[in-house]
Symmetry: C2
Subunit: 191 residues, 2 copies
């Protein structure tokens, strides 16, 4: 009962996510969110409580969709090395695509809110940890498939790949594509 919502909360969260991603947390004002979502400020506050709470939902959504995309992409046909290489290239291309070079929302968040925001930091840690698990799982599958050496430490490699990924997304803010592709090749040279 009562008047029904005139918008799909998930759609609004997705639009908010895009805006936070592009403009940063501090750089996004309630007015920006209202414009991006097409929902008036008052309604946003009524539904989500505060900018901060909306951001939390946006960051969660980012983590979920990101890990789904990653899992799906890594599972496509190919060796572990091929798939991981392709994944890094994909991310670089996504980062370079579009006029904004917005990088990774999770990373931007932890850089912007640093140690000052306990909850955001924990959320980002979970997102990163999940990525490491996905890489490790893919490497272990490679070992079962026979395309990765039996004696590599899957988790250690996965952590290294996640670090490379994080570094690449920083570098992608100021370096150009050929350089980034070269870095990927160098990083994945062993294997």
């Amino acid at each position: 009962m009562g008047r029904p919502k005139s918008f799909e909360p998930d759609v609004v969260i997705a639009r908010a996510m895009e805006t936070f991603w592009t403009k940063g947390y501090a750089g996004t004002s309630p007015a920006d969110l209202a414009e991006a979502t097409g929902v008036a400020k008052g309604s946003l506050y009524h539904s989500f409580g505060s900018k901060r709470e909306l951001f939390t939902k946006a960051l969660d959504l980012y983590g979920r969709t990101g890990s789904e995309v990653t899992e799906e992409f890594l599972s496509r046909p190919g060796t572990a090395k091929e798939r991981i290489h392709a994944y890094l290239v994909l991310l670089v291309d996504m980062d370079l695509d579009g006029p904004v070079r917005r990088g990774c929302l999770a990373q931007n968040t932890v850089e912007e809110l640093g140690g000052r925001d306990e909850e955001a930091t924990r959320t980002v840690h979970r997102i990163e940890e999940r990525m490491v698990e996905l890489f490790a799982a893919r490497i272990e599958r490679g070992q079962r498939d026979g395309d990765v050496d039996r004696d590599v430490d899957a988790r250690a490699q996965a952590l290294f790949i996640q670090t490379t990924l994080a570094g690449l997304r920083v570098m992608a803010k100021t370096f150009d594509r050929p350089v980034l592709l070269q870095i990927i090749d160098t990083a994945l040279a062993r294997l």
Copy 2:
């Protein structure tokens, strides 16, 4: 002629740098700067023009001192691998030291101001490029000294190390020391 400055501009810039580093650009208010530097807001504006200009000077200072420290540290006795390894460990420890996990100012800047601030982006690019040069030079010296293979591409390796470094400083925001040290070992395993 005229009343003399009551403060050393370089000292003020250094203090401002610390504040921006700890709290981020947007997170630092003129009031914060006044408190951190011990100079009244009005004076800061009189001397530096705007928050943005002060930040530019702070970021430049960061780049200069950073590259000096790096150059000095890499040139100390040891093989290229030993020195670079020690340098990465040093940075990780500096990042973990203190209660704030502030990471790297240059990196934080490019993450926070992203593509939206052309000048800041260029400055950070210069800082990163300088780091790559220093790593490359150290690797080339290693080749002359005989502790690095003659046929490694020094610049490619240097770019890779810079990427690892950037990634580590992201990871250092949410992971703990043993993990980070393991990543360093994995990253520098070849060589």
